[in-house]
């Protein structure tokens, strides 16, 4: 009996310590491993007419979920980064090559890439996301099969490459060759669709920080993607998330990798200019 009581006390003490730990971390903001400080709120970019400040989705999560992202060991998304690190050296395809065959500097070569994507690719004459670059490497250089947009190997690889830019502010270009696509993305953002007749802005601009059923609406920023969701215990791509949103409002989603989602990805990314790339974020 005595033993039970002391056990109980120990558990309570642990819970108290954990709560306190998270509280302290909150006060200090989004600091990962006690080392890397991320910008989780920033002044809105000039093109954002209706917002003064932009916030990372991390801000809207519960303390327990926030805490998961503060230590890479606790962050379940890092399992997939590990898997991608192994995949990096896997030789596949007709050319008998792996990622490491060309990119000898390792994934670290890609520090700073995530912050500017999606961007205009002159050679392809199109707007490219990271998935496009990865699949281009696979089909052209490795002569291997392309990955599906949201399959686990793809999201893991985007996580590994994105992680190299952790802490750097999102900075996508919205002018020049992408100006028209950006405008198209903006139009998609504000267009009501589906049986519920809602646009992205109805939730993520007009009503962020308001409860939607049992959950807080975020601003719908993409700086934390690919994102580990507790809901499905895997990494989720940006286009996959768009698809989920469209289903929620009972619209027919565009395809992952479609022109529409590319345009929307660019526009939504530009709304988050100034926020840090989070590596792999943890969300509901």
């Amino acid at each position: 009996m005595n033993n039970m009581t002391s056990k109980h006390a120990a558990v309570l003490a642990t819970v108290a310590a954990m709560t306190l730990g998270a509280g302290v971390a909150l006060a200090q903001g989004l600091v990962i491993n006690g080392e890397v400080t991320l910008t989780n709120e920033a002044p809105a970019a000039a093109h954002l007419e209706n917002l003064d400040k932009v916030y990372s989705g991390w801000n809207f999560r519960s303390i327990e979920t926030q805490a998961l992202q503060l230590d890479d060991f606790d962050n379940p998304g890092m399992i997939f980064v590990d898997q991608a690190t192994d995949q990096w050296d896997v030789v596949e395809g007709g050319a008998d090559e792996s990622c490491a065959s060309c990119h000898e500097g390792g994934p670290e070569e890609f520090a700073g890439l995530r912050v500017v994507l999606p961007r205009w690719n002159e050679d392809a004459d199109a707007l490219w996301s990271m998935e496009d670059y990865i699949n281009n490497c696979r089909t052209e250089r490795m002569q291997a099969e392309a990955w599906k947009w949201s399959e686990s190997k793809m999201t893991a690889m985007t996580a590994l490459i994105g992680l190299q830019s952790r802490g750097m502010p999102v900075n996508v270009a919205i002018d020049g060759p992408v100006a028209d696509i950006w405008a198209q993305g903006k139009e998609l953002y504000y267009t009501r669709v589906g049986q519920l007749d809602m646009s992205c802005s109805n939730c993520h601009e007009d009503n962020y920080d308001v409860m939607i059923r049992a959950d807080h609406l975020s601003q719908g920023q993409t700086n934390g993607f690919p994102s580990y969701r507790l809901k499905n215990a895997k990494l989720n791509s940006i286009h996959g998330r768009f698809k989920g949103c469209m289903k929620n409002i009972r619209a027919t989603p565009y395809a992952e990798g479609s022109d529409e989602f590319h345009a929307l990805e660019l526009y939504v990314a530009s709304r988050g200019n100034g926020l840090s790339v989070e590596g792999t974020s943890v969300r509901n």
Partner: protein, 109 residues
């Protein structure tokens, strides 16, 4: 043997005698429930981690029995008192007979 299984453990490298340290463990594992069917309609046999234990210098300090409905990638965090320098050995047993182990040493100082 299930694919993609990788044990991960975080233990402080050094501690003082009598220190209470926090140990975090995670094993990436599918935790196949036994409820799912493959494309041909055959039931995929259950394959989960059924026990997890931690030993210090050969002496068992904690063990856990797991059953169905435990999530993928089970994570355990617990505290242990360090009486002397030595090795923590972590063991995960799979339904399919596989045993995964990981060892971490703690120094005094």
């Amino acid at each position: 043997m299930a694919s993609g299984v990788k044990p991960r453990v975080k233990v402080p490298r050094t501690a003082a005698v009598g220190d209470v340290i926090t140990i975090k463990t995670l094993i990436s594992h599918k935790m196949e429930s036994g409820q799912r069917k493959d494309k041909e309609g055959n039931i995929i046999p259950q394959s989960i981690i059924n026990t997890f234990s931690c030993d210090f210098n050969g002496q068992n300090i904690m063990s856990v029995d797991l059953s169905g409905a435990v999530s993928t990638n089970p994570y355990f965090q617990f505290e242990a008192t360090v009486p002397e320098a030595g090795d923590f050995t972590f063991t995960w047993n799979d339904d399919d007979g596989s045993v995964y182990t990981e060892t971490k040493s703690v120094k005094i100082g």
